[in-house]
Symmetry: C2
Subunit: 349 residues, 2 copies
DNA sequence: TTGTACGCGTTATCAT
DNA sequence: ATGATAACGCGTACAA
């Protein structure tokens, strides 16, 4: 029980401009003028008002200000799970850009639930957010798409694509994946497995497209059994790797695309005693400390998710500042980079 | 230019209860009654009102509601950088608990800047947040402490300690570190280095305390040169490891406490060609995919940061629901676990 | 230069 | 059961 200040211990009373005005012995209009870059206020009055504000610890109610038409300067960011390092980096990138422009970023997780996505859209709508960065889980969600198009603010899709007039940012997964597969083909691989998720969104389509086109271009027939595309979870990587290894003719290379997949794939490979790259070549995405420091170091497809978040925020800002129409379509693409390390070799003879 | 719906293309007009009332042909009070579990409204009227709401796409303004005294049901979470997996996991834990109780979590990064911390405190104050989860950068910040104690909402400190009547949650770093050092001492190590950050906060003090007490208890004199406690950055781990290796009598073991330090330490060790655990024993914290899958697998001090976030939210909720006094002191401690893997051995003869 | 009064959109209290 | 109206805290046009 420290002898603290006179801070109310239980229910802090609402203090308003009127209280400040009374204490300072002025009218409420004057208080308002003092706090809002007043063009004309006597120094003496200003001091008195500021003293009163300080004494009472008053802060203007954002709600009341907002009712007066003052913008909330708040934008939302909705994605499935903050623990995904890709998303937290994007959020930080967006936050940095937005904070710099005087906006506050409000981050919320949807857990990949359509119901929670619409719920959050409604929440941001009621709170009068000015814009939204959104990584929708299922691009085919009718309800969510409807909510987006009827929302009173512009939306920028992140790593997703909708048949709606909104901005979008994403990494060039097509080229990244294609280059990785071409590299493996060049090494002599013919049975290349791909483990990933997002079957129903832009990222997944781009990756599949890159994979398939690389194979087709090289005249190699693709085997559907080598495409394991149902989840980004580490567990999935573990299970599917085991499954692949158990097949009659297992792959000689695995491309694992998704933050957490690499650990699962590596675990399974080690458990089975498979040597990388001797018995199995491996390429992952995105880059990570694990990929850099694993033994052998893992060749990866890398892209800068922090930068992706920045670009998304920039795209949104252009709409907020009226430089671009509310519903203008636009897509910004972040490049992917192929980082050669030591996890690939020619297939075993 | 898709022939989209009638969505306004530039400036969506503010639509209000009055609009809804007009369209439905009722009074605004009735609209309010319909949306707020109206105890008595004719089914026919209710249907008309709901139809009007749907037609106009109206959502009540949270600002106006808040002015009427409706709680914001919003709590803030401030920490240095969302990209730290520890924080994003905590945030998700807190978000899960709070969302379940009908609260929205607003996450904001301070970048470890005192100025931004006070700025955010002010922001949450103006927005009438109902509570705050806070991981202050410097426990000695006078301004920030003042802002916390005069804020009109309860605060729960995360992994930090203040001489203020607030709740707090943290992991038991003292025991975790002490057990790790005792283990190394038991292996025969006498020169044990510790690399970490947070010299001025609870986490750092607990870790230093555990380290020092373990040494003292074993009658081993501590060498201040082995304590490198100025940062959690990967780069710092890299540089300090190099520095330690360059000393006349280098350590035989390193304890690296901080999410990103392990990668830096490992990089430096590999660059110098030092074998783990043959020439150098290594213990890290927290656990990570890298620690699990590095070769050799790294022995770690582990704690559940997601759970830590949950506990913090629970502590705050008790205050919000009035079960506990606004400024009651309380500390919840999460256990740390010592996970033995393969990165430690007896020191080289 | 400073004070007064109105309105923002909602909920709640009256009447009807 | 429903309609009219006051009040919440702030910014600002207008009056003094």
């Amino acid at each position: 029980m420290s002898a603290a200040k006179t801070t109310p211990a239980s229910r802090p009373a609402r203090i308003t401009v009127h209280d400040v005005a009374r204490v300072a012995g002025v009218a409420i209009g004057t208080v308002s003028r003092v706090v809002n870059q007043a063009p004309s206020v006597t120094d003496e009055i200003r001091v008195r008002v500021l003293a009163a504000i300080d004494e009472l610890g008053w802060t203007p109610s954002a709600a009341a200000q907002n009712m007066r038409g003052v913008a909330t300067r708040m934008v939302g960011f909705v994605f499935s799970d903050m623990r995904n390092p890709l998303y937290s980096a994007m959020a930080k990138g967006a936050e940095d850009v937005l904070a710099n422009a005087g906006y506050m970023l409000v981050v919320a997780s949807s857990d990949g639930l359509e119901s929670r996505e619409t719920q959050l859209l409604d929440l941001f709508s009621r709170r009068r957010a000015e814009g939204l960065l959104f990584s929708i889980e299922e691009e085919s969600s009718r309800d969510v798409a409807a909510a987006i198009s009827s929302a009173p603010f512009p939306t920028v899709m992140i790593e997703r694509e909708l048949a709606l007039p909104v901005g979008a940012v994403g990494a060039d997964h097509y080229t990244g994946t294609r280059r990785a597969v071409e590299y493996l083909l060049g090494l002599g691989h013919r049975r290349i497995a791909m483990i990933s998720g997002g079957r129903r969104n832009r990222v997944g389509r781009d990756r599949s497209g890159g994979y398939l086109d690389a194979l087709a271009h090289a005249g190699v027939e693709s085997d559907p059994a080598l495409l394991r595309l149902d989840s980004f979870e580490a567990d999935y990587g573990y299970r599917e790797t085991q499954w692949l290894l158990a097949q009659a003719s297992p792959p000689t290379a695995i491309v694992a695309l998704g933050s957490h997949l690499l650990s699962g794939v590596l675990s399974a490979l080690r458990m089975k005693g498979i040597e990388v790259p001797g018995q199995m070549s491996l390429i992952a995405s995105n880059d990570s400390e694990l990929a850099q420091l694993a033994t052998p170091a893992i060749t990866v497809i890398r892209y800068d998710s922090y930068q992706l978040g920045r670009e998304a925020a920039l795209l949104l800002l252009r709409r907020l500042e009226g430089k671009v129409a509310f519903g203008a379509e636009a897509r910004v693409e972040i490049p992917t980079e192929f980082v050669l390390r030591e996890s690939c070799a020619a297939p075993p003879a």
